[in-house]
Symmetry: C4
Subunit: 247 residues, 4 copies
């Protein structure tokens, strides 16, 4: 199977996983940089992630222009994706969602920070982008390259950033990593809300975050991202797409 076919497979399965895990509902999307052309990215046509099929994957230039436009309706917010691929060479996949537990951290001063080893992928600082800061009153959607670039500036060199009154966006070195980070962003947010009600929280130290991230970067099949992917494939009814370490 070509690398392109593998990436498209992961986009379809990743969309279904994000729906099954409750990270996306009717809204949200996952993209990948084109494996053969760094100046393009792949993203489904506009539709709920749970419904994404292979034929729904479209190709875009980094400024959001559809390649070989065939009339399929693209996501309005494709500018989030393009801007991040343009700003960061290391980014190979982007997930944008409105997952629920994260929202409270976008509208309060409470700072979301990793407290669980599995959420070390969120990094040492999770910034919040507020469309108001640069653009004043808007409909909060990232509907232009200018807004996308402003968001990319705030995300900076991190793995995720929150969007005030809207949701969050994460980046990864692969679709599987981005999906993993999106899920554990939600898990960490949910646990941090609970823990906050009990008292002061002891978050992961910077040293712990570095060590856990470096272990994940070196993970083999069956470990870390891969074991989670296997589990989520099954829950999303996509077990047939998982080729594990033993096969």
């Amino acid at each position: 199977m070509s690398v392109l076919a593998e990436v498209i497979d992961d986009l379809v399965t990743g969309s279904r996983i994000l729906a099954a895990e409750g990270i996306c509902d009717a809204f949200g999307h996952v993209s990948a940089r084109h494996p053969d052309r760094d100046d393009r990215f792949l993203l489904a046509r506009a539709q709920p992630p749970e419904l994404v099929e292979h034929d729904d994957i479209m190709e875009f230039e980094l400024d959001g222009t559809p390649v070989g436009d065939d009339g399929r309706k693209p996501f309005l917010e494709r500018f989030i994706h393009g801007a991040l691929y343009a700003a960061r060479e290391d980014v190979r996949s982007v997930v944008h969602s409105h997952s629920h537990s994260v929202i409270p951290f976008t509208v309060t001063e409470a700072k979301l920070r990793p407290l669980l080893h599995s959420s070390a992928v969120l990094g040492k600082d999770v910034p919040v982008w507020d469309a108001q800061t640069t653009f004043g009153d808007t409909n909060l959607l990232i509907s232009s390259n200018e807004m996308g670039e402003d968001f990319a500036d705030v995300l900076d060199s991190g793995t995720c950033a929150l969007m005030r009154g809207h949701g969050s966006t994460v980046v990864g070195r692969s679709v599987r990593e981005a999906v993993y980070t999106a899920v554990y962003l939600e898990v960490n947010a949910k646990l941090q809300i609970s823990a906050s009600s009990l008292g002061e929280i002891k978050h992961l130290t910077d040293g712990e975050i570095d060590l856990i991230q470096s272990r994940l970067a070196d993970a083999k099949p069956g470990e870390g991202y891969d074991r989670a992917w296997q589990f989520w494939c099954r829950r999303a009814g996509m077990a047939h797409t998982y080729a594990g370490s033993d096969t």
Copy 2:
């Protein structure tokens, strides 16, 4: 298909969606103004929304009198619907529910306000109607036109109002809009309870609410209400009723 048949389809599908999304349980109902006669509305006979079929839809005069009464049992609280259609020409659909996260805002001084872009449909002010204010001790149900009119006065020109110790009612320009608003009223309430535990909340600004509402009003197939409807149809086992933008 006639407009009337389309509206009845949406009432049946909308009832199932409200059940599947946990907005209604055994109780709650969705109605539509009759598309051919502004002085009548359509509402299922009294039964759990999950069970509503086409043949269950009854026709009512705005004062709640069943048209061509055939012995089917109407909902006691049909007066909510009639009073809103009588008071507001722009209202084409009404949803009444007891969805759980909204209840705490009906019995405390905490003010429910939109904090998420998807909940801008709730508008700038969500009033609380208390049967005690005008009627003293009651069984809390809106069981007369007098009570319905009192509630319509409190809802005023808005899209939703809460009912103390009881639930909430939303209005829309279509069944799909009213169902969307009912779902995001619940989502916003749930998120506002969580966010309140973290600190002061930055709600949507009035300007943002206006911009988002105007975008939704102009939405095309595949966007906003329509994409959510497609997703919810599938979750409610009603995917076959959705004719999307590509068909």
Copy 3:
């Protein structure tokens, strides 16, 4: 169908409903007074409520002695049921559960009180029974008539009472009423915990409680308890057992 057969049907369906609604897990039970003999009650043999079948229903004297003992294992806590039937002529059904949201009100000073019209069935006062008060350290289970009678004294003339560190027990004039009360005890507890985090709660007034209870007492098929029962039957996979108002 004989009244006895109807009551046994309702016990089986009620057990399944309590499991499907998450009121009971592996533990908990629902009983009914024998319709032909006020000095006996009917209760399943010891097993998870989700598994109860017609043949599992046993007959007991009010002191908990199995009638025609055939070696089936009875619930240890049958003394809760017997003591309530002995103390209160009006009680026709009893539900005991460990439903989760209620537990916090059994171990804190917070007073559970109805805040939702559907939970008016809980009445004006929901007492907490603590085994410590009369019996000192125990395993918290009501494993004797003496403990059952002590609990019945605390429940007094009400419809429900909480049990510290253990759960709750409700009584009803029918199996359907007791199941309804058990479900709305849990719902009210869940909502009261949420509402407490927002501020002072305006509970139902005594007058409202009286009016709602009197409406429920006079409810016809398709209303109140009956509409909820129809809905819950369906969710519990027992729709075939519901004979509605139209049949």
Copy 4:
């Protein structure tokens, strides 16, 4: 059936139960001491617990060395299990998980203590192990015998201990007991978070804990652990593996 075959059956069913009850997700594991050799234990190869089959069960020496290594990938954290079997003769089974409600108690000063009769199995003191204390910055995983022994010291003679920013581990005299304790650790944590929001909590007294634990130790088929196991088997799709008291 040999005792070994029974233990392996319980490991497979226990894995599925931990997944179905939401105690384990992609991660977590349950082991048993080898019934014929106290110096060995049984644990599945590395994979999500929901997928565990009989053929996945591997045999280990107490220092974590696989017996008859055949290339199957073992869990990295098998050192938790080995260290506990080495330190405690009475331990016959170990469950390690990241169940969500427990995490807040690992990162705050709030002390987890039993408040529900079913959670008396947690004992009078639930300590928190922090990898930082002895090892400084790590990736938080117990990846050596040295770390396993340090954790066993903190668990001491108890039935469970929490792990900061990571999860928890429980021990039992059988697989069924360990699974029961893992489930009720999560339930107690969830309820304690809720109850904390209502005020001061009245936890179980030491005398109550002793009495409940002694009842469970003497439980017959159909009671306590066994009734819960029957219920959980059914929910996990493993009802066919349960041979109840009547068969």
